[in-house]
């Protein structure tokens, strides 16, 4: 049996002294001290890590954010930024001795500017709401993390969120033109704006993905992308993963750049069928989903090529969808995979590793061997186009030792990723969960350079401490374990895939 890491830290007097000053900044209703209300913020989407925040601040303006942060810096009190709390690496794990700064009340879309193909938004705006606001003009916001109905732009900026379509469209960092940030010293700074390529260091590029360790984004100018003329989604069923992987390689080699390429193995298909009856072709050992978008003629040409290459790789059934309803049917099984696995296993670990695409076949073979040797089942769901694996490591937490064995398998999968020149995280972030794994991927001097950069923004060390880079206090903890579906998925407020 695994135990949740307990945090031995008690709120100190400095924090109590801060409360009246926080109330003056954020108003009485903008500061939460009541234990039961604070408890609702004890974790983000990775619920395995939990700690009740000492105080929760809910600012409504950029100036309030800066004042709160400045106060923390002046008093040497740590602060933790939080958006919608959907993150999967405990990047928004609060501290009992600190202030949790939540941007959830900053939800205004300041401006949609189709002529300049951009929008200006506050950090608490939900990702999908930008697309909703831009849709009447024929535009959308491209980064589409699976929690996009609820996850906030501010959180996306902190995590450099991607999504199923980042293969073609890139990540949050490729879609932010300007930022206003509250630095960890409590200053508001504007970087970039509606014009591209602002002079000076690319602090926007370095800030995005910094997981709240360099400050808090208080406003963002994001790029809008012209909605594609046509979208075609293909589903191809193969006898096994090798054939599916071969199809992916040949599609990429052909020069086709799909918007998304997703793959599921037999175990995850089985789970999805049991959960949502997605009606994927019977007997499929692998299912490949390829989505193409762009000018209609290009999409038709590419779809014909993908069909031909899938058939050549041994696809025994191919389905094609051009309408929204048909498309949703194809995506249904894939989008339900994480939650579905929760139904066929009492507990599971979601891993997030990346390998070079050409190493996919070999790594999947190695994962199968690991699984066979340990007796721990692993379901594979992944973004095949960019080599981002999400192995779901299944175990029964009632069985003595199973949790430890699962954690070992999960860790061994990360080792495989590193050995093949990949990454320990493709999209979930480092946070607390993988801070101790950073030295497996980076040399001491790499981490030293990162730490120097961090201290340029946060000399006092108050901005989301103990996240992203390893600290001695944390190391030795096992990676995060989930016992049930994500709370937001359970509430029907988000999808996760």
């Amino acid at each position: 049996m695994q135990e949740r890491p307990t945090r031995e830290r008690s709120p100190d007097d400095r924090l109590s002294a801060l409360v009246p000053r926080l109330r003056r900044i954020c108003g009485d209703d903008g500061v939460l001290t009541d234990p039961s209300r604070r408890r609702t913020y004890e974790s983000d989407g990775l619920t395995y890590h939990a700690e009740v925040p000492g105080v929760v601040a809910l600012p409504t303006t950029a100036e309030q954010v800066a004042e709160v942060v400045g106060l923390c810096a002046a008093e040497g009190v740590p602060f933790v930024p939080r958006g919608a709390g959907t993150g999967l690496s405990a990047g928004a794990l609060p501290r009992a001795d600190g202030v949790l700064v939540t941007t959830s009340r900053m939800r205004r879309i300041v401006e949609v500017d189709p002529d300049n193909e951009c929008a200006v938004v506050q950090p608490g705006v939900a990702n999908l709401d930008i697309t909703r606001a831009a849709a009447p003009y024929g535009y959308y916001y491209a980064p589409d993390p699976s929690s996009q109905q609820v996850c906030s732009v501010g959180g996306n900026i902190a995590e450099n969120s991607g999504g199923a379509h980042c293969l073609k469209y890139g990540f949050t960092v490729n879609h932010v033109l300007g930022l206003q940030i509250a630095t960890p010293q409590g200053e508001l700074v504007r970087l970039g704006g509606k014009a591209p390529e602002a002079p000076g260091y690319d602090l926007i590029g370095a800030f995005i993905g910094s997981e709240g360790t360099l400050g808090i984004a208080t406003e963002a100018t994001v790029r809008l992308v012209r909605s594609p003329q046509k979208v075609t989604t293909l589903l191809a069923a193969f006898a096994g993963m090798d054939a599916g992987g071969q199809a992916v390689s040949s599609v990429i080699a052909e020069g086709v750049l799909p918007a998304a390429v997703e793959m599921m193995d037999a175990l995850s298909i089985e789970a999805a069928e049991a959960a949502v009856a997605c009606d994927y072709p019977e007997g499929a050992g692998a299912v490949l989903i390829v989505e193409l978008d762009g000018p209609a003629a290009d999409v038709d040409a590419d779809a014909a090529a993908v069909r031909r290459l899938c058939e050549r790789a041994g696809a025994f059934e191919i389905r094609e969808a051009s309408g929204a309803a048909e498309r949703a049917r194809i995506w249904k099984g894939r989008k339900s995979a994480f939650a579905a696995v929760g139904r066929i296993s009492p507990a599971y670990i979601v891993q997030d590793g990346v390998v070079p695409r050409t190493a996919l076949g070999e790594v999947l073979g190695d994962i199968a061997r690991l699984s066979a040797e340990s007796g721990i089942r692993v379901a594979n769901v992944f973004h095949a186009g960019d080599g981002n694996l999400h192995p779901l490591v299944l175990f029964d937490d009632a069985e003595p030792g199973a949790g430890e064995r699962a954690a070992e398998v999960s860790g061994a999968i990360l080792d495989l990723c590193i050995r093949h020149g990949g990454s320990i995280t493709g999209e979930h972030g480092v946070g607390v969960d993988k801070a101790c794994s950073m030295p497996r991927m980076f040399a001491p001097q790499d981490l030293e350079a990162m730490d120097r950069f961090r201290r340029a923004f946060d000399p006092a060390g108050v901005a989301n401490p103990e996240k992203l880079l390893p600290t001695p206090r944390l190391c030795g903890e096992v990676p995060g374990v989930r016992r049930d579906v994500h709370p937001l998925v359970a509430q029907g407020r988000a999808e996760q895939f």
Binding site: E197, F453, F457
Partner: protein, 424 residues
């Protein structure tokens, strides 16, 4: 400035360690000058480790170092406050191409042309335009120089997935990796891109690649004035033709050529080209790129300007340039009107103080023209123009944070001191 005889003497007396790890050392000459400052030595390490060792040795000797690739843009930025040694990176070549992964790692000294030739063997390319012929990978990244392809592929920084950098203390460090999707740690490659070698010396860069598109068509049309040019640009942006680039070219104050680059499968491209042609009148379609495509306007010795603007204000910026020469005449304009990046040039014949005044006047007008969103950077200017009081970078928001980054990564200020914004 150091005289010729003194240089020779100094070269003899170069700190021994500067030739660390077998680096070649020779005395600097006028041809090695950076913004008018002649270095005492030119040091050419043979590889990345040697580069780091040279930096460590230089730091111990308290020497200021300016990295150089092919030297095609060595005059860009402000003149360095000190330049004891030029670090010649031309030996840091080498291309490690993982074709199946559409990824390449290239040494900083690799010429872009050479890289392109290697990639083309497998039908791939790095979609970074060769804006200045002869540029190296490191030079293009250190100056953050993008071309027309910035519209579809993003600026050069968007294509970088990993980087190794030698720090001023001689420590080599790496960020990112060799996979296209990776959020582990700070993306310090972004920070070094466009930093003019003031935070570290880029020794290799890993890029994501694209297949070479099967077909290409450029649709061009002429607009009589900036507002009409903007209308044409806007109509293409709002179409579904997915252009790779939308450029404008106005050599003088006259007609403006609007050029749309389309790339993609043979089957689709003709329909897309027809759609763009229908948006224009008297359009010309060609498989060839127009003369001067993606290159910078002006000639040798000119003062080269980069102007950024919200795309919808590109017409106002072009109008501001139409009478911005020191003699009140028009300046040439070329650039990515669809993205909001334009280039211009003040003629070399202009008096240095006249050029400085013209830049100041243009900055003031640009503020109004772009609603306060734009910027004007002087990329390249002759030493006399700098000496006349030119501020090449202008006002840069976020400067205190940038100074703090510089202070933490190069505490002794030995890397390209003074070349960057705000005297960094």
């Amino acid at each position: 400035m150091t005289g010729k005889d003194e240089q020779a003497q100094d070269a003899g007396g170069a700190p021994e360690a500067i030739g660390a790890a077998g680096a070649e050392v020779r005395p600097g000459t006028d041809r090695d000058a950076v913004g008018g400052a002649v270095p005492r030595w030119v040091v050419r390490p043979s590889d990345a480790d040697g580069c780091a060792a040279v930096l460590g040795a230089a730091a111990r000797a308290g020497l200021a170092v300016v990295p150089r690739g092919a030297g095609t843009k060595i005059g860009w930025g402000a003149p360095p406050r000190r330049c004891d040694a030029v670090l010649d990176l031309s030996a840091l070549t080498g291309v490690d191409h993982a074709a199946g992964d559409l990824v390449v790692e290239a040494g900083a000294g690799t010429p872009l042309e050479e890289l392109a030739a290697v990639l083309a063997k497998t039908g791939q390319r790095l979609p970074v335009d060769r804006v200045v012929p002869g540029s190296t990978v490191g030079g293009v990244v250190a100056t953050g120089l993008s071309g027309p392809g910035r519209m579809l592929y993003g600026p050069v920084r968007d294509l970088i997935i990993g980087m190794t950098v030698a720090g001023p203390d001689g420590a080599a460090s790496r960020s990112g990796g060799r996979v296209v999707k990776n959020v582990a740690g700070y993306d310090l490659g972004k920070l070094h891109t466009g930093a003019f070698g003031t935070l570290g010396v880029i020794t290799s860069v890993t890029f994501r690649l694209r297949p070479i598109p099967p077909a290409r068509i450029v649709v061009s049309a002429e607009a009589p004035d900036p507002p009409r040019a903007r209308e044409l640009v806007s109509s293409v942006l709002k179409s579904h033709t997915a252009p790779t680039a939308i450029e404008v070219d106005r050599p003088g104050g006259g007609r403006i050529s609007v050029q749309v680059l389309l790339e993609g499968p043979e089957d689709g491209i003709r329909a897309r080209a027809q759609e763009v042609s229908d948006l224009f009148s008297d359009a010309v379609a060609s498989p060839d790129l127009p003369v001067g495509w993606g290159t910078l306007p002006g000639g040798p010795g000119d003062t080269l300007l980069k102007l950024t603007t919200p795309p919808a204000r590109a017409a106002e910026v072009m109008e501001a340039l139409a009478d911005a020469a020191p003699d009140g005449g028009p300046l040439p304009v070329r650039g990515s009107a669809g993205s909001g990046v334009l280039y211009s040039a003040l003629p070399s014949a202009a008096a240095p103080d006249g050029a400085v005044r013209a830049v100041s006047a243009l900055r003031a007008r640009l503020g109004n023209a772009t609603g306060g969103h734009g910027s004007l950077t002087v990329l390249d200017a002759a030493p006399p123009v700098h000496a006349a009081g030119l501020d090449p970078w202008g006002e840069v928001p976020g400067l205190p944070l940038m100074r703090s980054v510089k202070q933490n990564l190069d505490p002794d200020g030995v890397l390209s001191p003074g070349r960057f914004a705000g005297g960094i």
